[in-house]
């Protein structure tokens, strides 16, 4: 049996020769794509955009997933360096832990592009960081809601969800949300703050407890559409999953603009969503990976995608420009 197991491993190593990524016309350019995971529709859109762009440009791309393991992602980055890729696009699980392998890549002469999540600290400066302006978008979307609430004379007992604090994006969104909450104290009263670690189970338990303790809460601020499944589940359990205008409606302000979030906004279950350019950033990263592989340098090492603030008021006008719009029913 052990022999069988070892034989399987041996054959798989040999058979794996055929199971590789896109081989393409421009054999000089080889891009490593190191991502955390494909857990959310947002990341799937980023990944699809990157792969499609690489195919269109005729360059080889090697995608690797860390499955939520920061140390494993470092090892995978080292393996990409060993493969002598000409550029690496990295969406890190942990912006601090990834510094070690970015340094190794740069020492090996391989430019690194950060996709969506920046590196933490100043020890290393990637060749390019393609980021959403999380802080500004979080502020803008919540400010719209606050102004609307003020006009209507409404006050909100608020449940604030927080993402994984290893993710700089979550930190920036939290910062933006909290600034607006502080600036509009007459509108927002935060009754619960739930750290979710970008985990559905943790989010669901936190929400259930918060709703139990605060049955009159009437606003949920979420840092990502990814958390909609536990939000919906928790609200359905207390019969609060209702559309705008209905008696038990729970206001929801979200972030990302993925298919799920946009569908709920279209159907009237939420008020606003700050949409990131998922497909665009994936494509843009590959374009620049090719340019960096050929020795070009960007004028600015940081590109901030301003995103699109989609609300229940501007949906018809603005939503068609969001990447997930074509998938909506």
């Amino acid at each position: 049996m052990k022999k069988v197991a070892s034989l399987i491993a041996l054959v798989s190593l040999l058979a794996a020769l055929g199971s590789t990524s896109v081989f393409a016309a421009d054999a000089k350019v080889k891009i490593g794509l190191s991502m955390d995971s494909l857990e959310s529709a947002f990341w799937v859109a980023t990944y699809d955009g990157a792969i499609a762009k690489a195919k269109a440009l005729g360059v080889q791309i090697i995608p690797i997933m860390a499955e939520g393991d920061a140390a494993k992602q470092n090892q995978q980055m080292e393996n990409l360096i060993a493969q002598k890729v000409t550029a690496i696009i990295c969406a890190p699980k942990d912006g601090a832990a990834i510094v070690a392998s970015i340094k190794k890549a740069q020492d090996a002469g391989i430019p690194v592009i950060m996709n969506n999540r920046p590196v933490q600290g100043n020890d290393v400066v990637p060749a390019l960081s393609v980021l959403s302006d999380n802080y500004a978008m979080a502020k803008e979307v919540l400010k719209w809601f606050a102004e609307k609430a003020k006009k209507e004379g409404k006050k909100y007992k608020t449940i604030l969800l927080i993402g994984n604090l290893a993710d700089e994006n979550a930190v920036e969104r939290q910062k933006g949300h909290k600034e607006i909450i502080a600036a509009y104290k007459d509108v927002f009263n935060v009754v619960a703050e739930i750290p979710t670690e970008w985990n559905h189970e943790i989010a669901l338990k936190g929400l259930q407890n918060a709703l139990q303790a605060n049955p009159d809460a009437n606003l949920i601020i979420t840092p990502s559409d990814f958390l909609y499944p536990p939000i919906r589940s928790a609200l359905e359990q207390v019969k609060r999953w209702a559309k705008v205008g209905q008696k038990n409606h729970m206001a929801i302000v979200s972030f990302d603009g993925d298919e799920g979030g946009m569908q709920y906004l279209k159907d009237g279950y939420s008020e606003a969503d700050a949409a990131q350019g998922a497909t665009f950033t994936g494509e843009y990263c590959v374009e620049w990976a090719v340019k960096l592989s050929k020795g070009q340098k960007p004028a600015n090492p940081v590109y901030r995608d301003p995103g699109i603030i989609v609300t229940m008021d501007n949906f018809k006008k603005v939503a068609p420009s969001v990447w997930s719009f074509k998938s909506l029913k």
């Binding site: 052990k2 041996l10 690797i64 140390a71 393996n79 600290g121 290893a166 670690e197």
Partner: protein, 334 residues
């Protein structure tokens, strides 16, 4: 019925099995040299041994436990807790401006935390008589949570960076790449000789094979089990030092997904999950096998889920083989 000849047959089967795994490992390495681009590059060889080093240390600690017929789920939480507490001492504590003091203090604390968790496990198993499965699962949950809570309180994030550059030597940065490799080799050699040539080592195997008979023979079974738990925790603490040095950050989720690789290394290498047979040579082979699979699959650009699939299949097959041998042995004995 001849128990002796059955034991000899099983022993010789294990011998053949262990050596055949070594043959397959060498064949796999040869195949990788020939077929995998960049496998034999200096950078990749360095990487290979660096990637194997913290896995080997933690797997050696776990091997002690498995030889005794137990399991230790808490090792991954020790990795995480040690990592963030050590990083805090070196980067955020009042000792941070003095790396010549903060680094040794951090290392001692990280090892101490490992020993502390190990001692808690040992106490739970020997005094409270909890099965190792339950005791170590409980400590794993507690100390994983403590690691996340600690980091969020001291750093408002899930990781701590800004560690002193001198600490990265332990992780093998740059020209110091031999440091973690030599450390891991030393740990392996000490463990191997302890098991093979000391009374404690003989006690470990004896208790793993038959705790009741060992007790009747005068072996202090509780003390042996307690010491094993302590060792497993200590080894995990050392692995935390190496891994934190390699990643150059204190990571609250360090080792989260590592447990499967640890068990795979031990089981595929040939140590019996039921206890009583196997050893560190087998663990070393298993660690190299698992590291080789991950390394070459990445180099070949194989889809990540296929790598996970193969690891899972290998563990299942190896564990089933071990189970069949143990069943045969117990049937013939009975």
């Amino acid at each position: 019925m001849n128990v002796d000849s059955t034991r000899k047959k099983v022993f010789s089967k294990r011998l053949v099995r262990e050596n055949s795994i070594l043959v397959f490992l060498l064949t796999a390495i040869l195949a990788s040299v020939v077929f995998v681009p960049n496998f034999l590059s200096v950078f990749n060889i360095k990487n290979f041994f660096l990637q194997a080093s913290d896995l080997l240390v933690i797997a050696c600690g776990m091997t002690f436990i498995v030889l005794n017929g137990g399991i230790d789920f808490s090792v991954t939480s020790i990795l995480a807790l040690g990592s963030v507490v050590g990083a805090y001492i070196m980067a955020l504590s009042p000792l941070a401006p003095f790396p010549m003091i903060s680094i040794p203090v951090a290392i001692v604390v990280m090892l101490g935390l490992g020993a502390m968790v190990g001692a808690i496990n040992g106490f739970s198993i020997t005094v409270l008589k909890m099965p190792s499965f339950i005791a170590t699962l409980a400590t794993q949950m507690v100390f994983s949570g403590v690691a996340v809570l600690f980091t969020s309180r001291v750093a408002s994030r899930a990781s701590i960076n800004g560690l002193p550059k001198a600490f990265f030597v332990i992780g093998g940065e740059g020209k110091y790449f031999l440091v973690p490799i030599v450390l891991a080799a030393l740990v392996f050699l000490i463990s191997y000789f302890t098991l093979q040539f000391t009374g404690f080592g003989r006690n470990v195997l004896s208790v793993g094979t038959n705790p009741k008979a060992s007790f009747i023979s005068g072996i202090n079974v509780k003390k042996t089990i307690f010491m094993l738990c302590l060792l497993s925790g200590l080894y995990a603490g050392l692995a935390s030092v190496i891994a934190t040095g390699r990643n150059q950050a204190g990571i609250a989720s360090l080792g989260d997904k590592m447990f499967i690789s640890i068990i795979a290394s031990i089981v595929i290498g040939g140590t019996s999950i039921g206890g009583g047979s196997g050893g560190f040579k087998q663990t070393l082979i298993g660690v190299f096998f698992i590291t080789l699979i991950n390394n070459t699959m990445n180099l070949l650009g194989v889809e990540w889920y296929i790598t996970m699939l193969f690891q899972g299949i290998l563990i299942l097959v190896a564990a089933f083989a071990d189970y069949m041998i143990r069943i045969r042995l117990s049937v013939r004995r009975g």
